[in-house]
């Protein structure tokens, strides 16, 4: 049987791509003897592996060659294809999504030599396909009808068997329970009145907030023990089929928030509550790949003593962050002014926000949107290097998140740092301590300098800033809790302490 070596070369050695990008590469092929091949094909696609049945989806199919392959000759077939909007590479507990290219030499009446290799696909920072989640309907009428029909069938079907040693009690009990579950919310609303539950937005990115608002006007006097909201994300994988079908679930995240406790409401007095919940930082975006799913949902529950509780489960769409101008939100201006002391100097932000297209830094990954509570760094007018040109608004926090989220092993982290090394980023840190620089630095002026260790202002994110010897005096005067502001460039990622080390720009 002819042996055939198949090897893949990608235009990016690290094989990291984003959805929507074009992958360029070459398939290298060498046969140890002549092969009377019909054709050489290449298929690009995604597939799942893990505890669930495998799902696959091909998005490119190319015919690279037709006819005989000569012995010993090295063939190089260029290929290119566009990666679709989703899914993205994901490595979880039950579910893994990988993107692969598969090359195959079709040989008549013989075993086909073939090979496949993986590449990484991350969400595009520009646009994401957003499948609108289903509208927040009250209860599905079809569900109510089905529940009622099955319940009544079980109850009525059980009656004739009551006289056979009470066997009919079992289906009647099941039917009664089903009937109760079908009408539970309606029973609760006899006391609560119509409950209006709103979520905004139903599609949200990690790190951002979802606002729940709940409103009702009780029909009669009612006590509520607790109003609970549970935000939950889980992987769900189905293995086997038929009698062998098993559904496996793995909880990725669960957060329970008590909105209110021990409420006593009089009839006719309207009640309104609002709660904000933050979607955690992660890469488990909502996805449905047949037997493999990642789902997010919020469960809202009103505990009413001695009465059926009101409960509703609302599916949420967690989508990747985008790098659109809207997503790079400005920090609260009061905070900037306080940090930078520019209240009287005018608005330092005027005209500074760069769009992804115009920014020289648009190539940087995952510049996420910010929330008001997040720390933000901005061009500071009292920077130690006022002569330096003001860079566009850069979110250091997002850069750190991206690096921290990258695999610990491999070169992805160092590449991210490398790509941002030329950026002079405005930094504001709350100093915890300072220490002497150690190690051999490429720049002599840093060898005897100091390193400030602290947290980015308003966050728990730790960073270290190397200062040159010339700033030793000012550095030693900074006690714990002091504020340091200035421009710095990312230098390296410290895996030991999981923090970014920056070097001050003099």
């Amino acid at each position: 049987m002819a042996k055939c070596d198949l090897d893949f070369d990608f235009d990016r050695p690290n094989r990291n791509y984003r959805s929507g990008e074009t992958v360029h590469g070459r398939l290298k092929l060498q046969a140890d003897s002549a092969i009377n091949s019909q054709k050489v094909t290449l298929i690009a696609g995604w597939k799942t592996h893990g505890k669930g049945n495998t799902s696959t989806g091909d998005y490119a199919s190319l015919e690279l060659h037709q006819g005989e392959l000569q012995s010993g000759r090295i063939y190089e077939f260029p290929f290119e294809f566009v990666i679709p909007g989703s899914p993205w590479t994901y490595r979880g507990t039950l579910i893994n999504v990988v993107h692969v290219v598969k090359a195959r030499v079709h040989v008549a009446w013989a075993f086909d030599p073939q090979s496949e290799t993986e590449f990484e696909v991350q969400p595009s920072p520009v646009t994401q396909p957003i499948n609108s989640p289903p509208p927040l309907a009250a209860e599905s009428p079809a569900g109510v009808i089905l529940g009622t029909t099955i319940s009544l069938a079980l109850i009525l079907g059980g009656i004739p068997f009551l006289f056979m040693y009470g066997c009919g009690l079992i289906p009647m009990g099941i039917g009664g329970f089903l009937l109760f579950m079908t009408y539970r919310n309606r029973l609760a609303e006899r006391k609560l009145g119509k409950v209006d539950l709103q979520l905004a937005p139903q599609s949200q990115t990690p790190g951002e907030e979802i606002v729940f608002s709940l409103a009702f006007t009780p029909r009669s006097r009612v006590n509520i023990d607790r109003i609970l909201i549970t935000l939950e994300g889980q992987e769900q994988a189905v293995s086997g089929s038929g009698t062998n079908k098993t559904t496996h679930r793995h909880k990725l995240f669960e957060q329970q928030v008590t909105v209110a406790e021990a409420i006593e409401l009089a009839a006719g007095s309207p009640y309104r509550a609002e709660q904000r919940l933050r979607v955690p930082e992660h890469q488990a975006y909502t996805v449905d790949l047949g037997d493999n799913k990642i789902g997010w949902a919020a469960k809202v529950r009103l505990d009413i003593p001695k009465w059926p509780d009101w409960e509703r489960v609302v599916p949420l769409h967690v989508i990747p962050k985008t790098n659109s101008p809207q997503a790079i939100a400005s920090p609260p201006r009061e905070m900037i002014s306080e940090v930078a002391g520019t209240k009287e100097n005018g608005d330092p932000w005027a005209g500074e926000l760069a769009t992804p297209e115009t920014s020289p830094y648009h190539d940087l990954p995952q510049y996420s949107s910010m929330t008001p509570s997040s720390s933000t760094v901005a061009p500071l007018s009292n920077s130690p290097s006022p002569a330096l040109p003001s860079p566009p608004a850069i979110e250091l926090l997002s850069l750190i998140s991206s690096i921290a989220a990258a695999p610990r092993f491999g070169d992805q982290r160092s590449q991210l740092v490398e790509r941002s090394k030329d950026l002079a980023i405005p930094v504001a840190i709350e100093v915890e301590r300072s220490s002497y620089n150690y190690g051999i630095y490429d720049d002599e002026s840093f060898r005897n300098g100091r390193t400030l260790i602290g947290t980015l202002l308003g966050t728990e994110t730790k960073v270290a800033i190397q200062l040159p010897e010339s700033q030793n005096e000012s550095a030693s005067s900074l006690s714990s809790g002091a504020l340091w502001t200035g421009l710095a460039r990312p230098a390296r990622w410290d895996d030991l302490y999981d923090r970014l080390e920056l070097r001050s720009v003099r």
Partner: protein
Amino acid sequence: MARPSKHHLGNLNLSRNPFGELEAHEIAELAIVNPQPWLTHLQAETALVQFIGDKGRGKTTCLKYLVARLAPLDYVHLPEIGSRRFTIRRPLVIDEAQRLDWFTRRTIFGDRRIRAIATHDDLSRLASKQGRQVLNISVPCRIDHDFLLQVLRKRIERFRISDAPVPEITPNMVNELTAQFGDNLRLIVSHLYDCIQVLDQTGPFQVSLNLTQRPRCHGQQNDS
């Protein structure tokens, strides 16, 4: 949430969890079967192979092996719920053939394009009445200690990245697994998936299951 490695389980020198669900070609590749009697039998035009056995014993694996070996051959799985209608366009094998309805099972085997079936119930008499020469294969043909050890080790080898160490399955581990799960290969494999998922080092590992707790499967070196 995600493992810190380019490969999913790169720290274990594995390109993926070997005990997850497999693709059709991987099932065929990893099957440990003795297909010669089946292949010889199937040379006859009227031949039919019936794989019979309980669930989780490898009937589907045998069928998928045939599909890979005798391509082009269609694989038809009859679902428990929903439509069981299918069209015969070319030679095929039928999984879960016990789900064929009363009328169909009395007529369908007249079509010689059906080459093999997997079933919980014996349908050989019905097939014989329709002019088929049936070879009955009880699955598992053999599922002893050594066979299980071979199956599990072959899976790990399939997804090994390099010559560096990988998680190891020892004879003692197989004893423990069979004590817990009997010869149900599906349950054994599912349990090993969970073990590998939380494993942090190569070599032999703990597989015993405390029924009141989730399995703790941290690596250990003394199990041999």
